[in-house]
């Protein structure tokens, strides 16, 4: 059991399940299956057929969000059953929903409905064009801002480290930005597997519609505080949570600053409540005395 201050961090999406060792933990997989069944009754019957070995749903943006959410809830439940409790929570982008369930602000069912409503509102807003997100690694923020001077509709919507950024915008503009980034010397620049410009101003109208649903929900105070990835403030109250849910769709976030803030607050152990390794990889660029582990690493050590 960890003796150090622990943060549970929740990823937004799943890119693949090849290296995911969670299903090897019996208590996890039976609970995961139980939550999948519940989710299939609430939002999507096809979730019943999901299996990580088959790499199911990776090209289905809504279902992969559901699966990441269910993974997050299942992992955090199992960790707590084993006596591992977080002192702080954080959700990377759409990872916020599982973080809020873990923190007791919303129920599992409310989390699913929030994902569904957000996705529906975003789909209405983006149905008239082709949008997406891109990742650029190896250029500085200034280099990217220079590239974007001729592409005003593209925004840097997240910073993962000093040399790793996420952009959102129209697909055509993003493709131009990627070409320019390669020419400028980026190690890596490519489109992400999403068709939504998450965290960009293009989703503001969707967020306002989403707010109408958010404000109908009975959202409770957090029993474990959540750090905002938008402004690194600590959230506790239902009003904080509602505002964060709405703004999370269209405001930029900063995962790098969020990790630094958590370290400053004394977090010594980060546990990834999801199947991927992306968050762990990003943490390589942050110096400090801390560990970044997946559930199986925590349970097996």
């Amino acid at each position: 059991m960890p003796e150090t201050a622990t943060a549970f961090v929740f990823p937004a999406f799943v890119r693949d399940y090849h290296n995911d060792k969670s299903p090897q933990i019996d208590s996890f997989y039976s609970h995961f299956q139980h939550l999948l069944k519940r989710a299939s009754r609430i939002v999507d019957p096809d979730l019943l057929y999901f299996h990580p070995k088959n790499q199911d749903f990776l090209d289905h943006e809504l279902r992969t969000q559901y699966v990441a959410f269910i993974y997050g809830c299942a992992i955090s439940d199992i960790l707590q059953q084993k006596g591992i409790h977080p002192t702080l929570l954080s959700g990377y982008s759409m990872g916020i929903y599982a973080a809020l369930v873990q923190g007791g602000a919303i129920s599992f069912e409310q989390g699913l409905m929030l994902i569904l409503h957000a996705f529906q509102e975003i789909s209405y807003t983006t149905m008239t064009g082709r949008f997406g997100m891109a990742g650029i690694i190896g250029l500085s923020e200034n280099d990217i801002q220079t590239i974007l001077e001729s592409l005003p509709e593209v925004e840097i919507t997240n910073r993962n480290s000093s040399y790793s950024f996420v952009l959102s915008g129209r697909q055509q503009d993003l493709e131009q930005a990627i070409d320019a980034a390669h020419a400028e010397g980026a190690f890596h620049a490519r489109m992400l597997n999403v068709t939504v410009p998450y965290h960009s101003h293009l989703l503001k109208s969707a967020a306002l519609q989403f707010a109408k649903f958010v404000y109908t929900l009975d959202i409770r105070s957090l029993t474990v505080p959540l750090i905002s990835v938008l402004n690194q403030e600590i959230l506790n109250s239902p009003e904080d949570v509602k505002t964060e849910l709405v703004e999370n769709l269209y405001k930029h976030f900063n995962w790098f600053a969020t990790q630094l803030k958590m370290l400053e607050m004394g977090i010594g152990l980060f546990i990834v409540c999801g199947p991927g390794k992306s968050l762990k990889k990003n943490a390589r660029f942050i110096a400090g005395e801390y560990r970044f582990l997946s559930m199986d690493e925590v349970v097996n050590h």
Binding site: H18, G138, S140, G185, F187, K281
Partner: protein, 101 residues
Amino acid sequence: MAQIMENTRYEVKEVVYEFFAEECEVPVSEISDQTNIIKDLDGDSLMFLELIEIFKKKYSLDIELKTIGKYAVKHPVETIGQLIDMQMLIIEHENDILELD
């Protein structure tokens, strides 16, 4: 520019092997100069970036990442051996590496 010593290549090789062994969770004994970084080790550009940062600090290198990126576009690296070769050129030539073409 950093002085290339007789044992520099050995040092670089040792750092590269140990880095990938730890990051990719494979024994050092399973890594060779012919190992393909992406296909065999599931490596990625973030690892490449981290490795460069390690060498920048180790040899106090004055080089911009984007300079290395521009060089790498023309001279793509696939294997551990190629990565060590490129790293030696970076240590030796720093920001002048592009002038090698």
